[in-house]
């Protein structure tokens, strides 16, 4: 990577150097991009990342497996439950266990809700950046409802920390389903409204069509995943390709685009929201089928025993103490597990040496490979296109820098 310092040669040339960020409305986080301009045209864009680096991976080495979960909230903070689920699935793979059926259905439910919330943020903010403020306003009501649902289920809106190794932190409260039903009624109408405002709007077409187009080969070579890859035309979705949480039993379609430009990514995301709603409807039926039951494995070497038992029974109390003081007994080994987060493939690579804390945790953030192609995409285009492109990539600094 080239140096980001402004060199004398750069200063002597005709090019104008403009810093976009680190705190700029379009960067959605702290992200610096050094643009070399000739007039309005971008000759070169050099991204600099690391402004939001918190050393999550290193911190993980000093925290037990369950204690790392609050840190995963802060990766892609627009859809924190997806990270919680992704991490829990990874640790369960390492342990070789499965969470109970009820927990699996609830995980699918909250994941899809989080996916919709993430797409709402991405599309809404992208539209605001380009100048279509209205769409953002009306769509955000739905996100509000989703966050209310999270607040009921997990106890907090953004930093949910909902999963635990082997299941969930708690069951859904009784108020959850009525509000969920209301959301399922209102959300399709809101998505239709978004489409009325944008899909057939010539201004939106002019601003987004052809911006950041990419062929399937290039996208794969750059390491694209998720909606950005699907917008190029490749129907690749980890929920289908390597199903986890029984995703193979849900019926949904994979939307793909044709050119991979900002407009196609918009279309793919909108359709994914619709498909998520389909999954949610099926998940609700499934939840009724599964019926009440435990939401966390009943193996007290892995998950904390229920509180009533801890208060009254000696053996459970001992398990409780042992689990918190010495952590889960992990097998020695390593695992890579990936799940389909809202931005693409979210991977966790965990090395265990059998101790209380993981030996090493590595997070594969979906937007790092996508963001690394930024220069290629905006070279020779206008500054305004860079803004559209950055929004459609859905770069979340928390996840990018970790």
């Amino acid at each position: 990577m080239d140096s980001i310092a402004i060199t004398r040669q750069m200063l002597d040339g005709d090019r104008m150097i403009v810093n976009m960020g680190p705190s700029h409305p379009v960067t959605h986080g702290t992200l610096r991009i050094v643009l070399e301009l000739e007039g309005e045209l971008i000759m070169k864009a050099t991204p600099e990342m690391g402004y939001l680096h918190r050393g999550v991976e290193k911190l993980g080495e000093n925290l037990s497996y369950n204690q790392f979960i609050p840190l995963t909230d802060r990766l892609d903070y627009c859809s924190s439950i997806l990270n919680n689920v992704g991490y829990a699935v990874a640790v369960e793979k390492l342990l070789g266990i499965q969470d109970p059926p009820r927990s699996r259905v609830i995980r699918v439910m909250v994941s899809e809700l989080a996916r919709i919330a993430d797409h709402i943020v991405c599309l809404g903010i992208n539209a605001v950046d380009i100048g279509a403020f209205t769409a953002f306003l009306y769509l955000f009501k739905q996100r509000e409802t989703i966050y209310d649902l999270f607040e009921m289920a997990a106890g907090q809106r953004m930093h949910t920390s909902f999963t635990r190794v082997g299941g969930l932190m708690r069951d859904l409260p009784p108020e959850f389903l009525p509000l969920f039903d209301r959301f399922m009624e209102e959300c399709p109408a809101a998505i239709d409204e978004l489409e009325t405002l944008l899909t057939r709007n010539p201004i939106w077409h002019d601003r987004t069509k052809g911006v950041g187009a990419m062929s399937i080969e290039d996208a794969v070579n750059w390491g694209y995943t998720g909606p950005c890859l699907r917008a190029s035309g490749l129907a690749q979705d980890l929920r289908v390709a390597q199903p986890y949480l029984d995703y193979e039993t849900y019926d949904f379609d994979i939307p793909v685009g044709t050119t991979g430009d900002v407009f196609d990514r918009y279309l793919v995301r909108v359709e994914e929201m619709r498909q998520s709603l389909r999954i949610l409807a099926q998940a609700k039926r499934k939840l009724a089928e599964v019926g009440p039951g435990p939401v966390i494995v009943e193996d007290y070497k892995i998950a904390l025993p229920p509180k009533e038992k801890v208060y009254t029974r000696m053996e459970s109390l001992i398990h409780h103490f042992k689990l918190i003081m010495h952590g889960i007994e992990m097998p020695v080994g390593e695992v890579y597990s990936s799940t389909e987060a809202a931005n693409g493939e979210l991977g966790f690579y965990i090395v265990s040496d059998g101790g209380k804390n993981p030996y090493r945790i590595r997070v594969r953030p979906p937007c790092l490979p996508i963001f690394s192609s930024f220069d290629e995409k905006v070279r020779g285009r206008l500054i305004a296109d860079a803004v559209a492109e950055l929004g459609a990539m859905n770069v979340i600094a928390g996840e990018l820098d970790r």
Binding site: L63, N66, Q67, F68, I69, P70, L71, T134, L137, Y138, K141, E144, D148, E151, M152, G155, Q156, H159, S161, M169, R170, P173, E175, E193, T196, L197, T199, R200, N201, P202, I203, H205, G233, A235, V240, D251, F252, D253, I254, P255, V256, G257, T258, F263, D264, L267, V268, E271, L304, K307, V310, Y311, L317, H320, F321, I324, M325
Partner: protein
């Protein structure tokens, strides 16, 4: 499981900017009217601080240290919450005490100091989960602000009194003689 190819081309009719502007204005206007007819209490926007959101049960807000009916602190200084805290923001010092009474008949430990640094706390709720004595829980207060850092360092007495009605019991005042350590009497007044 199918694959949907998404593609949108505009007709010449839609290419006329006027049409889509009119449609967009229509949507805006619809919302405008709807909003006018909705009473403030039903709108999505909450007029904070005049209106406040009701937090659901199980919300993870400011902590409270629970007490027994007679006012004695439930915590037995077992250090589980300190161990479970991912932010490492709890610090406890234990002390022994042997005066017996009804509720704490056999206990012989309690915290001399119990500090939570609210600036480090991430409100994850793991302390509540780890407590084997049902002594700490997170409740619904999310309005935490202070003028300096020191006042965000909550001590034992702050944590007992974080809510006006802790477990429906009256507020506790700290004993006069020692500012930081609680009195040796079991029933704190």
């Amino acid at each position: 499981m199918g694959v949907l190819v998404k593609k949108v081309e505009l007709t010449w009719w839609e290419r006329l900017y006027v049409v889509s502007v009119a449609i967009g204005m229509g949507v805006t206007f619809k919302h405008f009217i709807k909003q006018l007819l909705t009473p403030t209490s039903k709108r999505y926007t909450i007029q904070y601080p005049d209106m406040k959101k009701e937090m659901p049960k199980g919300y993870r807000g400011l902590h409270e240290l629970k007490r027994f009916e007679d006012g004695a602190i439930k915590c037995v200084a077992c250090f589980m919450c300190q161990e479970a805290c991912p932010a490492r923001c709890i610090s406890i010092e234990a002390e022994e005490f042997s005066e017996l009474n009804f509720t704490q008949g056999f206990e012989e430990k309690r915290p001399a100091t119990f500090k939570i640094d609210m600036l480090r706390c991430i409100f994850c709720g793991m302390c509540e989960e780890a407590c084997p004595k049902d002594a700490i829980w997170l409740r619904d207060n999310y309005e935490l602000a202070a003028y300096d850092r020191l006042s965000m360092n909550f001590g034992k007495w702050d944590l007992i009194n974080t809510y006006a009605e802790p477990d429906g019991k009256a507020r506790l005042t700290q004993a006069e003689e020692s500012p930081m350590t609680p009195s040796r009497r079991t029933v704190a007044l």
